[in-house]
């Protein structure tokens, strides 16, 4: 994958849940302002890998990591590295939309408030900017105080993206962001991803290979915890170098 302009790098990354290895010797680079997709069968380690990028795996018991993960060249697991700060810079959107049971406005304002912003005018600005970036503003601007739970699934997911954007991250991790959405809502999220890459690094985990092909610039194929092949999305889907990748992409697996 692209060597210059990378924002995240891993080197010989290994991860175990207890005695079970989940990642083996993963070495990769993630370029900034591009969309990188991770594909592979269930349990191959792709979600585990992106959870390393913002230290979400710290919250899992018996999880052990060796190797290096760098964000802007700094080891994020180094002593003195602050996981809260890393999670602000590396935001995450999950498979199922998970808005807080609060108003639309409060969902977006929550993060900035936690980070100490209390100025109402500034919060208003942040909420509008984030909702606009998440392509949701036009649909909700007249009901910002309404409960987020009343939004459709697709709108809720865009709200979660807006919530992530509100704290001005540099990287957005998306773990199967469309798997609970209908095709129209999915298309909106995909369009949004394409816009987000102008300003952010986006890493998306997906089971849907057509989606990976549609939205990403780079694709990594993982299998049994290993990064089998990384390359431009065109190369991976047109002529992968590894037979394993070829077999997975063409559905000749197992």
């Amino acid at each position: 994958m692209m060597s210059n302009n990378s924002i995240i790098r891993t080197a010989h990354l290994n991860l175990w849940y207890g005695d079970t290895p989940a990642l083996r010797e993963v070495t990769m680079q993630v370029p900034d302002r591009r969309v990188t997709a991770l594909i592979g069968p269930s349990g191959c380690g792709k979600s585990t890998l992106i959870r390393c990028f913002n230290r979400m795996n710290d919250l899992v018991d018996h999880c052990r990591i060796t190797g290096r993960i760098e964000f802007h060249g700094n080891d994020i697991y180094a002593k003195g590295s602050d996981p809260v700060e890393i999670r602000r810079k590396v935001g995450m959107v999950f498979q199922k939309p998970n808005p807080f049971p609060k108003s639309i406005y409060e969902n977006v304002a929550y993060g900035p408030r936690v980070h100490g912003i209390n100025d109402t005018a500034l919060l208003d600005q942040i909420v509008e900017r984030s909702l606009r970036q998440a392509a949701l503003w036009e649909e909700v601007k007249d009901r910002l105080q309404a409960s987020a739970m009343g939004l459709s699934g697709g709108q809720q997911q865009r709200l979660c993206i807006a919530r992530t954007l509100a704290v001005e991250p540099e990287v957005i991790l998306m773990d199967e962001p469309c798997s609970a959405l209908d095709p129209i809502a999915t298309a909106k999220i995909e369009t949004l991803i394409n816009e987000l890459k102008q300003q952010y690094c986006v890493i998306i985990v997906t089971h849907n290979m057509q989606q990976a092909a549609r939205v990403s610039d780079y694709t990594g194929f993982m299998y049994l915890g290993e990064m089998i092949e990384c390359g431009t999305t065109t190369q991976i889907f047109e002529h992968p170098k590894q037979e394993l990748t070829e077999n997975y992409i063409t559905g000749r697996f197992g």
Binding site: M209, F237, E238, H239, P240, E246, T250, G251, R252
Partner: protein, 224 residues
């Protein structure tokens, strides 16, 4: 992707190959009809043209359907891309066969003794020799598609150079014949058309070889 898709793709490949052999068969038979001044054989080639078009169109439709329903990727996608081009080249080759059959019918003469004279002229113009090189190239391209053995098409570029050289040589030879005996102008002009068709068929063999190479390696390399 499902096994159902791969079964359908394998079936499509068989049909594509069948179309390829139908086309090369038309070319081969037309050349034989030309050499033997045989209108019956020529008519039989012409009669296969409808089948050739129908099968080409049906296969094209079938592959669009596979793309629409299964969105194939990687080698599956390359197989369909290669097959789509192959059927279009095969159809052209078959139609050149039909065109050569038309030349046979247009220039047919039932005068006893004519056949020997025409056979001599066809042979004098090296048409059977050129035909066997071109048909060999097409057969090897089809065999490579079937087996994915690229060594079969490794020398297509050189073989095509030989075909191009023959086209230029025969062209000059034909003109010499016509200058020597103006009564041969109509016949020789028709025969030079045949030589031109063969040269085009050699290019189609190369085109197929290019796409089979893409199918196997994922690389696009022009054979010239």
């Amino acid at each position: 992707m499902s096994d159902k898709f791969h079964a359908e793709l394998a079936e499509t490949k068989e049909k594509v190959l069948g179309l390829g052999y139908l086309a090369v068969g038309m070319l081969e038979d037309a050349l034989r009809a030309l050499e033997e001044n045989d209108p019956v054989r020529a008519e039989a080639v012409k009669a296969r043209k409808r089948d050739l078009s129908n099968r080409t169109n049906a296969l094209e439709e079938e592959m669009y359907r596979l793309i629409a329903l299964y969105q194939p990727m990687a080698k599956d996608m390359r197989m369909i891309a290669c097959s789509l081009l192959l059927i279009s080249s095969a159809e052209r080759i078959g139609r050149y066969g039909k065109d050569i059959a038309s030349v046979v019918l247009r220039t047919y003469d039932d005068d006893p003794g004519a056949t020997q004279r025409y056979t001599d002229l066809v042979r004098g113009l090296s048409i059977p020799h050129m035909g066997s090189i071109v048909i060999g190239m097409i057969n090897d391209s089809l065999k490579a598609y079937e087996t994915e053995d690229l060594s079969l098409v490794a020398h297509h570029s050189d073989r095509d150079d030989a075909v191009d050289a023959l086209w230029h040589t025969i062209f000059r030879e034909g003109i010499t014949y016509m200058m020597e005996d103006t009564r041969t102008i109509t016949r020789c002009t028709n025969y030079l058309m045949v030589v031109r068709y063969l040269e085009r068929c050699g290019d189609h063999a190369c085109k197929i070889a290019e796409k089979v190479t893409y199918l196997v390696t994922g690389e696009q390399n022009e054979i010239r």
